[in-house]
């Protein structure tokens, strides 16, 4: 249906690779983290070779995930700067949820919802990183007091859950908005997709090519 010429490049191969590395690491983190968080999910540690292995690998995965997220951050942060339109978008987010994007301002490369996801992920990653280091006893146990560690575990758990909810939103949005996933798999989207969801971006891209 779509015209072969009506295709836009959205993500470079590097960006895609970066994203999916991050995604895989996040899955590992979620699985190992939830396993250690809730007794009912402890069986998930078997995916990592048992409880001790899960305990050992989780923070290392966390470090890798943090590095890979840093890559994403560097790539995307400037596209996620907040604009006045974004605030208007947010005010009318209910139309977006009901699939009526015409009633919100045209979105650039990212709409306000995506920017929110981006910034939430950034903030929560920092929280997870700092709290994670504070409770990583085998490496840094001596640098924090027990009270600091107690705070850290609560922050870590809270941030992880929040991040998980953000990630679920992120994934659901990608599934719900058809045509999105190909952006992150093949790197390109159809013009129609861009017109429908990121019209301002489309116009910018068109402007560039001319």
């Amino acid at each position: 249906m779509a015209d072969k010429n009506n295709i836009l490049d959205r993500y470079t191969a590097g960006a895609r690779l970066n994203h999916w590395i991050n995604a895989i690491l996040m899955i590992c983190l979620v699985l190992s983290g939830m396993a250690l968080f809730h007794p009912s999910l402890f069986f998930l540690t078997d995916l990592f070779g048992g409880g001790t292995m899960a305990r050992i690998v989780h923070p290392w995965i966390g470090v890798l995930a943090m590095l890979s997220f840093l890559g994403l951050f560097i790539r995307f942060w400037r596209f996620n700067l907040w604009t006045r339109d974004d605030s208007a978008w947010m005010r009318n987010v209910k139309h977006v949820v009901s699939g009526d994007e015409a009633k919100v301002p045209e979105a650039g490369k990212y709409n306000a919802g995506q920017k929110l996801v981006f910034w939430l992920m950034s903030i929560l990653t920092i929280l997870l990183l700092t709290s994670g280091l504070a409770m990583w006893d085998s490496q840094f146990g001596e640098y924090t007091t027990i009270d600091q560690k107690r705070l850290a575990v609560v922050v870590h758990a809270g941030a992880a859950v929040a991040l998980l909810i953000v990630v679920i939103t992120h994934i659901y949005a990608a599934i719900w908005i058809r045509g999105t996933i190909r952006g992150m798999t093949r790197g390109s989207v159809t013009g129609g997709w861009a017109w429908r969801h990121h019209r301002k971006w489309l116009r910018e891209e068109v402007g560039k090519t001319k």
Binding site: V154, G158, L164, I177, W195, L202
Partner: protein, 299 residues
């Protein structure tokens, strides 16, 4: 058949279901009468000996406390305090170690199923084989007792010699104590013995002598007779009203169901949204509009 031939389990860490609870058991306790303790460290030596633990030989840093703190090898330690109490000089000597709380913070915090168990008799034991070395028990303990090994990254602490108690023997420290500053028996008997000791101390002018069995952790299976029970802190920082940290209670309490509910809810909302709204698909007119836009430069 239970894997435990001799001691029934009351609670296991990271286990939401109940342990077999049909059989009754007598609660035991170790009573440490600080007023009879001469700080000889026989308990420390016996603990090392019985449990096959050996610390590195350290240095003296200007005090009698050696080693200087509990470690994965030193499960019990004499702590010495020189202090003037009510105008009288006293050398307070307290045997530090696991208190075997009725409501153990370590067990509450532990994420590894069965790594920490509480036997019916009250002993809180670390089952090292199941320990994953996360150190959560350290955060859960209100008495700062568990230590993580540098060798195997597992948590260690006093087991109240569960292996001895299981065969009807007293813990090594209690048996060895030359002055009966440590005694061992049923919790009820120990409380009665403590009453006698407290009466004796009161007769000798220690008006605030009393028993340390802190209710904040549901009582303990290691109790102290203190000459100054109103000021436990003077005994090398014995907490006055120990409780599991509210942060840990929060973390291991409401956070768990709330988090699972939150995550589940997020997934569910997405699912229901999809069911009610269907996919947001790109329409043909979108493609056309896009194609048109690409042909017509935006002005």
């Amino acid at each position: 058949m239970s894997s435990l031939q001799s001691l029934d389990i009351r609670r296991r860490s990271a286990t939401v279901t109940q342990s077999p609870s049909q059989r009754e058991a007598t609660e035991i306790a170790k009573l440490i009468d600080v007023s009879r303790c001469i700080g000889c460290k026989a308990c420390q030596a016996a603990c090392l000996e019985w449990n096959d633990l050996r610390e590195e030989v350290g240095v003296n840093v200007g005090v009698y406390d050696n080693p200087h703190d509990l470690t994965e090898n030193t499960w019990t330690l004499m702590r010495f305090t020189e202090i003037d109490v009510d105008g009288r000089f006293e050398w307070l000597i307290r045997k530090d170690g696991c208190m075997h709380c009725a409501d153990p913070g370590c067990l509450k915090a532990c994420p590894a199923p069965g790594a920490i168990v509480q036997y019916k008799n009250g002993i809180v034991d670390f089952i090292s084989e199941n320990c994953i070395g996360c150190g959560y028990c350290v955060k859960g303990c209100p008495f700062n007792i568990p230590r993580i090994s540098k060798k195997d990254a597992k948590a260690y602490k006093c087991s109240l010699c569960s292996d001895r108690v299981a065969v009807g023997q007293a813990p090594a420290c209690a048996k060895v104590c030359p002055t009966q500053a440590i005694s061992f028996g049923t919790k009820k008997d120990m409380a009665a013995w403590a009453d006698k000791r407290i009466a004796d101390l009161k007769e000798r002018g220690y008006k605030s002598a009393g028993l340390y069995d802190p209710p904040g952790v549901g009582g303990t299976h290691v109790m102290y007779v203190l000459k100054h029970a109103d000021r436990p802190q003077i005994y090398a920082g014995l907490p006055k009203d120990p409780k599991i940290s509210p942060l840990v209670e929060f973390w291991k309490g409401v956070t768990k169901p709330l988090a699972l509910a939150g995550v589940g809810l997020a997934a569910l909302i997405g699912f229901f949204h999809y069911v009610t709204h269907g996919p947001n698909e790109v329409q043909a007119e979108d493609e056309e509009a896009a194609a048109k836009a690409r042909r017509t430069p935006a002005e």
